[in-house]
Point group: C2
Chain length 150, copies 2
DNA sequence: TGACATATTCGACATATTTCGAATATAAAG
DNA sequence: CTTTATATTCGAAATATGTCGAATATGTCA
């Protein structure tokens, strides 16, 4: 995997992963980088990323930092060098924790509004729903972590 | 709520809701429309939406159709008229079902890839995780629906 | 069917975002 | 501290997306 560009199957995987993330607001380059990092057995340098995904190094830097912000990727160092290496985060619950934050915040907004504003049954019900969903997903995350410790 | 523009509290709610959705790739106008529809006791016409949210009618149309596509809003008709009325969907699990679709599809991609490509422990583990999360959220949705039938 | 009301699409323009290479900042070693 | 390697930021240009009003399509009634 040190040739320029990517083999067909890898390319397809990367584009498929990207196709899932882009509709959720992840920029194309960052989404493709995520697919790429998922494929890599070891962390990748920005030079390597830039070469294999055929983008400029600065675009690679921006994308990698964005993924890091989303907690989808993690940065590692290389002893004795300034080189940064990025890998897919093994805390890959990032998608779910983000989603929990979203529905929890939405529940709070809805709850607050239903208290302020009079009889809004729908809003109250939705607040309850999103609260419940947030709890359920948090529990599922907890179960997963607990099972990983066996 | 037939005056031009919106009162402070409503405006804040709308902007808060939008602020939650926009980072997930929902365009600003559609996100604001969702907040607006959540507030409305009855369905809103495009003329009404355009006036109160201070946008063009065509922008309102595009936003409403987008929300409909996301299943966050629902369209109703008006007897004897061509007028369309939009309301927040009472199938408001749209956010969750979209997320379930995302993690399920990601699990599939990961699973397929780990079968094809040799020992990729991480990918297999992630496929399992996302599969599990998808199941957990689906169950929570089912519980909610079952409880609604009491 | 035609008239009218209304939604949607289209194309132009405005605005936002992305991508790039150069400039700048930063980290590590000697 | 200087040098070198590397990442990051900057600003310009390219590209994508959003918004609008006019044009077009669609639905209802007489």
């Amino acid at each position: 995997m040190s040739n320029k560009g990517l083999a067909g199957r890898d390319h397809t995987f990367i584009e498929d992963v990207a196709g899932l993330l882009v509709p959720w607001g992840v920029p194309q380059t960052a989404a493709r980088l995520y697919g790429y990092l998922l494929l890599r057995p070891e962390p990748a340098s920005l030079d390597c990323i830039a070469a294999e995904l055929e983008m400029s190094k600065s675009s690679a830097s921006v994308a990698a930092r964005l993924l890091e912000q989303y907690t989808l990727a993690r940065r590692r160092g290389e002893a004795g060098s300034k080189r940064a290496l990025y890998e897919a985060s093994d805390n890959y619950e990032g998608i779910m924790t983000g989603q929990i934050r979203l529905v929890t915040a939405l529940a709070d907004l809805l709850r607050k509004r239903s208290e302020q504003g009079g009889p809004r049954e729908r809003i109250a019900e939705m607040a309850e729903f999103y609260g419940m969903i947030g709890d359920a997903t948090e529990q599922a995350l907890r179960r997963w972590k607990a099972r990983g410790e066996d």
